[in-house]
């Protein structure tokens, strides 16, 4: 009997939480370093296609991004639209939009929805060529090699 009483009297040892901030800070720094904050609000829905022969963008922050896809919150069969920075752009507005941004020699990343037809993509490509920006990357997800 006395044995039980004794153990009940003993105060339970508490887990020290003193190192908790350190652990959390470590995680925090990890995520801070790997984060690329999305500055641009997407106005179009883009589901990238898959491909295997991919190259990493050299510097995502220094890249011009062009989005082509259906406008968000539109009818299911709406025509695809072009988004550059935070604005919708008409086909013939692509060249002016990408020539005055101070990123003249950088890559143009084309983020095109996989359901889009080549017509609009070709038009945008022609505009990019007119703006004399010849380095282009078709953005895609890495395909798992089978």
């Amino acid at each position: 009997m006395s044995k039980f009483k004794k153990s009940a009297k003993k105060k339970q040892a508490q887990v020290s939480t003193a190192s908790l901030p350190d652990i959390v800070f470590m995680l925090l720094f990890f995520f801070m370093v790997v984060t690329v904050i999305r500055q641009k609000e997407a106005l179009v829905d883009v589901k990238l296609p898959k491909a295997s022969e991919l190259t990493k963008l050299v510097d995502p922050r220094k890249t011009e991004h062009i989005y082509i896809g259906k406008p968000r919150r539109s009818e299911p069969n709406a025509a695809p639209a072009i988004q550059i920075n935070d604005k919708f752009v008409k086909k013939d507005g692509v060249a002016p939009a990408i020539s005055g941004s101070g990123l003249e020699n950088e890559t143009v990343a084309l983020k095109v929805d996989k359901g889009v037809t080549m017509g609009i993509v070709t038009d945008v490509k022609t505009e990019i060529r007119k703006a004399n920006r010849l380095k282009v990357q078709y953005m895609a997800y890495q395909d798992v090699v089978d």
């Binding site: 901030p21 690329v36 190259t55 990343a109 359901g115 007119k130």
Partner: protein, 179 residues
Amino acid sequence: MFKKKKQREEKEINAGSMADIAFLLLIFFLVTTTINAEKGIMVKLPPWDPNPPIPEEINKRNVLSVKINKLNQVLVEGEESNVGLLRETTKEFIMNPLKRKDAPSSPRSAIVSIQNDRATAYEVYLQAYNEIKAAYNELWEEKAQALYSHSYEDLPKDMKKKIQEEIPLVISEAEPAAH
């Protein structure tokens, strides 16, 4: 008076809320993070010329013509094919191991031409492009193994250049057919 002040200064700052603040920041970064790096197929576009030059006469045996029609069907050299076969077809065409008369005599003169329709799906077009690029990458890898017994990726720049001169990547994109 002085004594009193000194005693007050020794009070410690309560660090108990540190964890809460760190957690808050952590959750913010967790939510905004996109870990998958941005990747894409690298393409070099030809410069824009308002008056398209008259296409010079190219020996037909040097050109592998790949066409994708509006129904996303793939035609290679006028024959029905599919995207899955494109890689092997391209490799065989460029290297021409059987010395056929309808394929280039040397990989240096090989050209792959892609033509699509305006109604072709982007996904199919990109797959085809990806397969042709993969064919070249595999050929370069084979060449690198044969010449230097190293992986192409690990070679220094001048050796890569040598291989690329041996098997130059020439993908020509014709203006799409209108429907």
